[in-house]
Symmetry: C2
Amino acid sequence: MNVSPEPRAKRATIEDVAKLAGVSRQTVSRAVNDKAEIDAETKRRVLEAARTLNYRPSRFARGLIRQDTTTLGLIISDIGNPFFPELASGVLRAAQARDWQVVLYDTGEDPEREVRALTTLADQADVGAGFLSTPAVLAHAVKLGVPFAVLDPGWDTGSAPGVGIDVPSGVRLAVEHLAAAGHRRIGMIDGADDPRDKRRASFLAIARELGLAVDDDAVESAPRSIEGGAAAVRALTSRRPEITGIFTYNDVLAVGAVRGLKAAGLRVPEDCAVVGFDGLPLGELVEPPITSVYVDIRRMGELAVAAAAELLAGRAPEPVLMRPELRVRGSA
Amino acid sequence: MNVSPEPRAKRATIEDVAKLAGVSRQTVSRAVNDKAEIDAETKRRVLEAARTLNYRPSRFARGLIRQDTTTLGLIISDIGNPFFPELASGVLRAAQARDWQVVLYDTGEDPEREVRALTTLADQADVGAGFLSTPAVLAHAVKLGVPFAVLDPGWDTGSAPGVGIDVPSGVRLAVEHLAAAGHRRIGMIDGADDPRDKRRASFLAIARELGLAVDDDAVESAPRSIEGGAAAVRALTSRRPEITGIFTYNDVLAVGAVRGLKAAGLRVPEDCAVVGFDGLPLGELVEPPITSVYVDIRRMGELAVAAAAELLAGRAPEPVLMRPELRVRGSA
DNA sequence: AGCGCTCCCGTGAGCGCTCACGGGACCCGG
DNA sequence: CCGGGTCCCGTGAGCGCTCACGGGAGCGCT
């Protein structure tokens, strides 16, 4: 889909309206902004002129004067993934409390589009926040000089300001839960873009620490969608039929995994247990409901806005780490 | 949640940078915008000055000059309702194709907040689109003079430009499907804010036309959430135990209804069938999957942007009516 | 008549930036 | 020695609007 840039009809200015109504700019301004010191009849005439010219004040000229409006650019990977509406919900709420505007960029998990979004964000917004899929993209953000609150992408963001998730302890909750239920041979469905992602490494480390049988072959990578999860679980169980427990990168993949398992005639959790990550409402809808490592995503969005506000004020926001907790439901 | 407006640190201007670097505005502009006619060493010095002053060009001043950036304000009711991410997805895609910005307003289904959103939208965006819950809100939009593409709210929007849904024919598909399956006594779970909403009226009219037993008591109103649907179905079935088929305002309510039914020990669709509206992906996740009147919501979002573009060009977009179709899955 | 007040309305300045110029410094060839 | 070119850099103007002022007209009062 590509559309040729429509030659926007030249907008009428305040001067045009003034000329048509036979008054000065200032009088037009008074009429349009509902201010005092203007005769009722004059106001009527001006407003009529404004309507016939289809006049609308330029937000740029206005913004130039009362420079109080703040705009936050929010970068998300895929609004079709239920994780992001959840996040956006928190961001929107916090932004509204501060009277900020939120402009949304959906990058479709494409690093190149992330860079583009970041670039336009840099001169369209005052501050940014969101998930960045690779360190290279983060580096680009830094180079652009935009104040940006990085939301935990799963890899180490170094000293970049933002909101983190204590991924290792979350993964530990999941793996320990599987181990406690007696599963000795477990697998993982990974959904990370970046090899530096912490979930996979944590999974392998903790599983081994607990004496479980895992190796690199017990991890299957998949696109982060329900279909991806279903396909991955098929591959994983056919390669490793002995596996009785699966940890997934997120809840969307968990839902897909459960679907795939059921489609293959396996019972969840009896034949194979599944533990997700994120604790989305989505997980409660399916049968069985997904046991998951819960993180308060909305709150994460709110904290992101708070961090952005700190950046805007020229201060360094103190690092925040979201502590996950296990929500045991039906799938494990 | 209410935050006191942080006294934003006064931003450095191009002049400040120029002074610090000992050059003119124009030279700073050349350095920052990566243009020619500047010495490499000078450029380095300027950029350094810019960094120490934390300089970022004002988007307003820029916008005032190259007035090419278009911003669309999108008003949605509740991003937590899966319908809206679906819509936003289409809007975002079309907006990106035109190189537009999208600013998002979530009104939480509150008409008062809709009015507020509309007001700020009016001077922050070039054009708007979205769902408006009452005719009064639409009237406010018209009064403000913002070009606005109304997405079909279910009630008659008169001559307002936008994208409509052929609700009556959609409702007909649902009711005829229930009738064809032999259901004679059916009910509805309504989720409309406005009494003028077409779904309820269409439901009653078509049911009667088909000779089914319905009256006003066969319709239960509910907040548009899964919990709302579950509560409503409980009320409806206890009041009218003879009902064997239910049509719901949307898929979210349908999912709730199915939950409520199953919780009450009823089988779906054997004991009570359910037909939803919208055809969201959500409906395929639950057990049984929701039979629903499908509307291509993403496409609706794209069409909304197209209509907005027409408005911006000063033309009247030709009215579009989305034609729904029935997607039979498991719940009816 | 003269003063002060209210009610309207208009004019200059300036928000921060870019565009279109103009112009100095320097080098080169004739 | 001078015209012409290249390489840099700076100055005025103006984008569309609002703020701070100034000021004319009309009225009532002393």
